[in-house]
């Protein structure tokens, strides 16, 4: 029977048709669940290694800086989401100082953050930025990037203020699940400042090759950025009507795990 139902897995990623032992789950199923849970748990507690990103982004011509939130470690980060939303005073000052007096306000700043899965930005941030740069070099090829550790989405607001950015795009690891432990989320905020609510942001989620592909995600995000700039707003007042990405546009798909 379980084989019969298992054949319906072409319709859903849900774990239907599991093999039983008595009325309980068979050994192979229990071990598969344990494995998927273990990968997600490790992803939550993994350290965000920013160096490879730093090197690659700098080589691509992006101004890159690194910051930390007020959460000193993972245990604090998980208990105190408010700390994860705030920049340390020193980091804020360093960011502000990097913005030369009289220089134009950057249209967009990208924050790449660990969030709840450091594996996600590690795997998907670079291919996504390459895709954006291919889509519109003028907008994205030299966009400033800030790498943020122990960060929540709202840390982008503090970064946006320090760099006086018109828009901040936060690429952040989503909470790992048993089916995917490296989903990247993208949050776009116009006129970032502390106190912005989620209703004032646009979100594109589940960015990964097996979920929302890089090309489609880049298409949506670029559309949202241009619309946000012309309408002066993000959030519930800016509905995503970008539609599907044209098939022939965009960089060739990056290798999974690249």
């Amino acid at each position: 029977m379980s084989e019969l139902v298992r054949s319906l897995r072409s319709f859903t990623a849900a774990r239907i048709g599991l093999q039983a032992a008595g009325q309980s789950l068979a050994t192979r199923e229990v071990l598969q669940l344990a494995q998927d849970h273990a990968l997600a748990r490790d992803a939550v507690h993994a350290t965000f290694d920013t160096e490879p990103l730093q090197t690659a982004l700098a080589a691509m011509g992006h101004p890159v800086q690194s910051v930390k939130s007020l959460a000193a470690d993972r245990a604090t980060y998980l208990r105190r989401p408010d700390f994860g939303r705030q920049l340390g005073a020193e980091d804020a000052a360093t960011l502000s100082a990097s913005q030369l007096p009289g220089s134009p306000q950057p249209a967009v700043v990208v924050v790449i953050a660990d969030g709840l899965s450091a594996a996600a930005p590690g795997a998907h941030a670079l291919p996504l930025i390459r895709e954006l740069a291919a889509l519109s070099p003028a907008r994205w090829a030299n966009v400033p990037v800030v790498l943020a550790k122990q960060a929540r989405v709202a840390l982008g607001d503090a970064v946006g203020v320090a760099l006086q950015a018109q828009l901040v795009l936060v690429l952040i690891g989503e909470r790992p699940g048993m089916s995917a432990h490296d989903s990247l989320g993208a949050y776009l905020t116009y006129a970032p400042q502390p106190g912005r609510t989620d209703a004032e942001r646009n979100c594109v989620s589940n960015i990964r090759p097996q979920g929302l592909g890089y090309a489609q995600a880049a298409h949506q995000l670029h559309w949202l950025v241009e619309q946000a700039r012309s309408r002066g707003v993000t959030g519930i007042e800016l509905k995503d009507e970008s539609g599907p990405a044209p098939l022939h546009i965009g960089a060739p798909p990056a290798n999974i795990g690249a």
């Binding site: 849900a14 849970h37 748990r41 998980l78 208990r79």
Partner: protein, 463 residues
């Protein structure tokens, strides 16, 4: 009124009932985050000792959220039944605990008492209870509800079949529904959390579930767990809506953050009742709650999260719900940090709900960023089974591929039935036996490839 107690020579003082309740609450991360928790174990036990001396009548005089500022306080105070309260009106919180554990508090007495209890009284006594007390007293409570079947009878356990899909794909949802039905789940409700937010999607889901239920004569009910206003629009559009769902909280401001008012809930209940779709009863509402939602909405008024949660049941019972579900581990570790905190919270919620007369189920769950795993879920599942929980969730492999969290599986429900001899809702059990998916003892039978139920996957049957 000020409260005080001396522990080992230190006199601890608590300015208000609100502060006393918060500091008497067993440790959890959400109360630390809100800066309302006791600062030490000594302060916590001093608060518990002081709380034990507080007369239950005091809760009628001193609201933890001001009457003038909050419609949940007003609802609970204005509908308080003084006659029902009379048998315990002379007791302190500590004496109330003793009385609840004694033989005088039997099922009949507790059922009659429920309208006389305020949520804060129930939360208070729970803070003086260990897990075994929460289990023993909850087990004496019986809250039975009816729509197309009967939920909550002693010795019974129902399961919400939760066939979620990340893109609301109808065949994907049908496949998970089939899996659940073949494993004997779905008597509480077949309830979908949709991923999308447009009415057309919802109508498609309502129609498909209705067709499955009607075609196979399944004595159960469906629900699409979207915002209550969308369900009202669905009813207006003629969609076959069985149960109306809404997330609720224990303060007016929390409910505002969910986009609802008591008036909207009343309107939704009346709309669902007007459809007359129940066959054995007319309980039409399905509520979900969870400790921490008020703090998350910055709407907690300095009250601890467990007391606020009990107040949500004060809201729920006013609308005579079919199901009330505490989604205990979903909110994350900043509110309930680990397995220990989740297990205690699940048993507190179930105890408080049952004592207040709410048909309580629990979504026994965790997220991967909490310090918890499936062993913790098994522990809470087993404890709630012994406590007489009305229903739990059934999800393929306990892995919700839409909401991205870990709950309980169809197989977990079978484990609990086998361990404790718990039966399904009688009407549903009879159907399952009639279509040869379970034997007389309720053990699931292996269906053949020719079983009619498999016809639900045929494309022509989907709207």
């Amino acid at each position: 009124m000020a409260y005080a107690h001396t522990v080992a020579g230190t006199n601890w003082r608590f300015a208000t009932l609100r502060e006393l309740l918060a500091k008497a609450s067993p440790l959890r991360s959400g109360d630390l985050l809100a800066s309302v928790a006791a600062g030490s174990a000594a302060e916590r036990v001093a608060a518990q000792c002081a709380l034990a001396e507080v007369p239950l009548r005091q809760f009628l005089k001193e609201a933890v959220v001001p009457y003038e500022q909050d419609d949940v306080t007003r609802l609970c105070i204005d509908t308080h039944d003084a006659t029902a309260f009379a048998p315990v009106a002379h007791l302190t919180v500590g004496d109330f605990r003793d009385w609840l554990l004694g033989p005088a508090a039997d099922t009949e007495v507790l059922t009659a008492l429920a309208p006389g209890l305020l949520p804060e009284m129930v939360a208070a006594v729970s803070k003086l209870m260990r897990l075994q007390d929460l289990i023993l007293v909850a087990r004496k409570c019986s809250v039975v509800t009816r729509f197309r079947n009967t939920i909550g009878l002693p010795g019974h356990l129902a399961v919400r079949l939760q066939p979620n899909h990340p893109t609301d794909d109808l065949r994907g949802i049908a496949a998970a529904t089939l899996d659940g039905l073949l494993l004997g789940s779905g008597d509480a409700v077949i309830g979908i959390n949709p991923a999308g937010d447009d009415l057309q999607t919802f109508v498609g889901l309502w129609q498909m579930l209705d067709e499955i239920i009607q075609r196979y004569g399944i004595p159960t009910q469906s629900c699409v767990l979207t915002h209550v206003t969308q369900q009202l629009r669905g009813i207006e559009a003629g969609a076959p809506v069985d149960l109306v769902f809404q997330s609720i909280g224990g303060t007016e401001a929390t409910n505002v953050s969910f986009g609802v008012t008591l008036a909207v809930l009343q309107e939704a209940r009346e709309a669902a009742l007007s459809l007359g779709r129940g066959t054995v009863g007319n309980h039409v509402m399905y509520f979900e709650t969870g400790q921490g939602s008020a703090l998350s909405a910055n709407a907690h008024h300095g009250v601890d999260q467990q007391t606020i949660e009990a107040r949500a049941y004060g809201v729920a019972r006013h609308f005579q719900p079919f199901l009330v579900n505490s989604v205990v581990g979903f909110i994350g570790p900043e509110y309930l940090y680990d397995g220990k905190q989740i297990i205690r919270a699940g048993l507190e919620d179930h105890f408080c709900g049952k004592l207040l007369g709410v048909p309580h189920g629990v979504d026994i769950c965790h997220t991967t960023h909490a310090e918890a795993d499936f062993d913790d879920m098994d522990a809470l599942l087993t404890l709630l089974g012994t406590a007489g929980v009305n229903f739990i969730m059934g999800i393929p492999g306990a892995d919700d591929v839409m909401l991205n969290y870990q709950s309980t599986s169809f197989h977990d429900a079978l484990y609990l039935r086998e361990l404790l001899g718990l039966k399904r809702a009688p009407e549903f059990a009879q159907w399952l036996e009639g279509v040869r998916l379970a034997d007389r003892d309720g053990r699931v039978l292996t269906a053949t490839a020719e079983h009619p139920l498999l016809g639900m996957m045929a494309p022509r049957e989907l709207p």
